[in-house]
């Protein structure tokens, strides 16, 4: 029989304080990792604000882009972004929420359903630029829509669809089954249960998800460059079949130019973009906290 000297209490005591020390160092290190992330975020924000603040003025909202930095503005880009978001929401919300309802409330447990679910999960991981190639091949060329707002919005709608489907399903799942059973027991059809109960109760959570999905879309650049949204647009877009540019593309264009003045403009554009994003996120958080029913 071997001895247990190694486990004698003397060794143990000394050992313990060393083990505790290692743990403490690790804990500090782990916390530091999070702090580093936060510090990076703050640095980024401060850097952008310092660069962009001198260029922030109402001129950005009233002027078209120009090769003279002091005359350049974001007018067409901002209008393009608003148009694009509106058209994207118009298509993506009904389809995404509808698909979410189907998968959560109506879908039978079979292979088709499983296939659709795997598909949605996978689409969420497809790089956004691939959606751009889809939009270029399908909407711009094959459907002959050209480099128009509607082609861009259809591309964006497909891009945010998986996000809307997933958040809709999560929102719907939070509604307890007892509610469904109660409504079914009164003689409602499954659609009536969804329409008058499930959707009503989960609406705030669905809306929260939709806002977050749209905030993803508003910052997307790559797929729109791929379908050929232009960087220089000197008129107001009038309808879905006009060519267009958007805020992040204009920012990208300005960053790519060598003159530092345009970098300042880009930073000013980023400030506007971040303010829009922040407001959308704040709205989503407010909705979630105020209107969501806690079962």
């Amino acid at each position: 029989m071997s001895t247990l000297t190694a486990l004698k209490d003397v060794t143990f005591e000394r050992n313990l304080s060393f083990r505790k020390l290692k743990g403490k160092i690790f804990e500090i290190l782990a916390f530091f990792a999070i702090l580093l992330g936060i510090a990076m975020l703050l640095t980024l924000l401060v850097d952008v604000f310092l660069d962009g603040l001198p260029w922030l003025s109402t001129r950005l909202f009233t002027e078209f882009p120009s090769r003279f930095p002091e005359k350049a503005g974001l007018r067409s880009a901002l209008q393009g972004s608003i148009w694009l978001m509106f058209l994207t929401a118009l298509m993506a919300i009904p389809v995404g929420v509808g698909a979410g309802i189907y998968l959560e409330e109506f879908a039978p447990q079979n292979r088709i359903t499983r296939f659709i679910e795997i598909n949605v999960a996978n689409l969420a991981g497809v790089p956004s630029i691939i959606y751009g190639l889809l939009g270029l091949g399908l909407f711009v060329r094959q459907l002959g829509l050209g480099r128009t707002l509607i082609a861009g919005a259809m591309t964006m709608a497909l891009l945010v669809l998986p996000i809307i489907i997933v958040t809709t399903r999560e929102a719907i799942r939070a509604v307890p089954n007892s509610i469904r059973q109660a409504a079914l027991a009164i003689g409602a059809t499954d659609w009536e249960v969804s329409r008058d109960h499930v959707l009503v109760y989960s609406a705030p959570a669905i809306l929260t998800g939709v806002i977050l999905a749209m905030s993803r879309a508003i910052g997307e650049t790559a797929p729109l460059i791929t379908i050929g949204a232009l960087t220089y647009i000197a008129f107001d877009p009038k309808g879905p079949f006009d060519i267009f540019t958007v805020l992040p593309i204009q920012i990208f264009n300005w960053v790519s130019l060598p003159q530092p003045a345009f970098h300042g403009l880009a930073a000013a554009g980023i400030i506007i973009l971040l303010i829009v994003l922040l407001s959308m996120n704040a709205l989503a958080i407010w909705l979630r906290n105020r209107l969501t029913i806690h079962w």
Binding site: L41, D47, A99, L158, T189, G219, P248, V255
Partner: protein, 306 residues
């Protein structure tokens, strides 16, 4: 009583049933849109890729070491683009994996409920910042610092894109890993504590190994995200496809090449137009394989602890 029964007439029931059927059919079609999207992506990519390989041999595509489709002397070796893509992605993982994993362990094992509630949303903000903003930050903030530290650094370089991308991916790595760590049953932690293990020993030697497949899924997902990321590399990493492992040099990734061609005025039938679909196909295949692996690892991991 009779009046109420009359009001519930069969006519009403038929109408309701029709509405129900219409809605079911419509929402089913909506759900199929996702399948259509996947099919559309594969169809569009494949169509142009096939045309591309009618002009360029598939062997040249995968073995040639030069990529110059926009020059007069055209060469179609995709390796430099793949090299650039993997170089940037590897650098990003060097930042995202240790930081993300440490953050996940802290959030899941050490942080109090209140701390978690504050820290997690702040980290989420990092993931919500548009990539074009990270590109700006990489080119105009990180690169100048790198050039101060290493004077040989080129204006456009892989390293600055890697660093910015690493912080962008950190929240993904952290939150998926944290889900995996939190899914490890309490009973395992208790078994460890009951043996006299410290919190550190429990976290690193019991919880982490038990969650390893979930962490692996997070890792694969993060790599896939890094490979597909576009704007950061398009802005900060350059447009010079070359086979190099030096992160301080200008390179070009697959995504940045697609952006480069898209910005120019490329005629529909030209070979340059076809190249972006061939490169896109390769990119799609790479990310798809990783996403599927990650999906099944996560699924098996969940089943293990349910």
């Amino acid at each position: 009583m009779t009046t109420t029964i009359h009001s519930l007439n069969p006519q009403n029931h038929l109408k309701r049933d029709r509405e129900r059927k219409i809605v079911r059919a419509l929402t089913f079609i909506f759900a199929l849109v996702s399948v259509g999207t996947t099919a559309g992506i594969i169809y569009e990519l494949l169509k142009e890729t096939v045309l591309f390989f009618q002009e360029v041999s598939i062997i040249e595509f995968f073995t040639d070491t030069r990529w110059t489709p926009l020059f007069a002397s055209k060469r179609f070796g995709v390796l430099p683009l793949v090299n650039g893509t993997l170089l940037v992605a590897a650098g990003a993982m060097l930042v995202a994996v240790p930081l993300g994993l440490l953050a996940a362990i802290f959030l899941s094992e050490y942080a109090s409920e209140r701390m978690r509630k504050v820290l997690k949303p702040i980290l989420e903000v990092l993931a919500g910042i548009p990539t074009v903003v990270y590109g700006y930050f990489a080119l105009l903030f990180i690169t100048p610092i790198l050039r101060d530290l290493f004077p040989e650094t080129q204006i456009f370089n892989a390293a600055s894109a890697s660093i910015a991308m690493g912080f962008m991916i950190l929240p993904l790595m952290a939150s998926v890993s944290e889900d995996a760590l939190s899914a490890v049953p309490r009973s395992l932690r208790e078994a460890s504590y009951a043996l006299g293990a410290t919190k550190f020993e429990t976290a690193v030697q019991v919880v982490l190994p038990a969650a390893l497949s979930g962490v692996a899924a997070a890792f694969i997902l993060a790599v896939s995200r890094a490979i597909g990321e576009t704007m950061i590399v398009a802005i900060a990493a350059g447009q010079q496809p070359k086979l190099t492992l030096n992160p301080l040099q200008s390179i070009e990734t697959m995504t940045a090449y697609i952006v480069q061609v898209s910005l120019g005025d490329t005629p529909h039938q030209s070979i340059a137009y076809k190249t972006i679909f061939a490169v896109g196909m390769l990119l799609f295949a790479m990310t798809l394989v990783m996403n599927i692996i990650s999906y099944f690892i996560t699924k098996r991991f969940r089943e293990k602890y349910e």
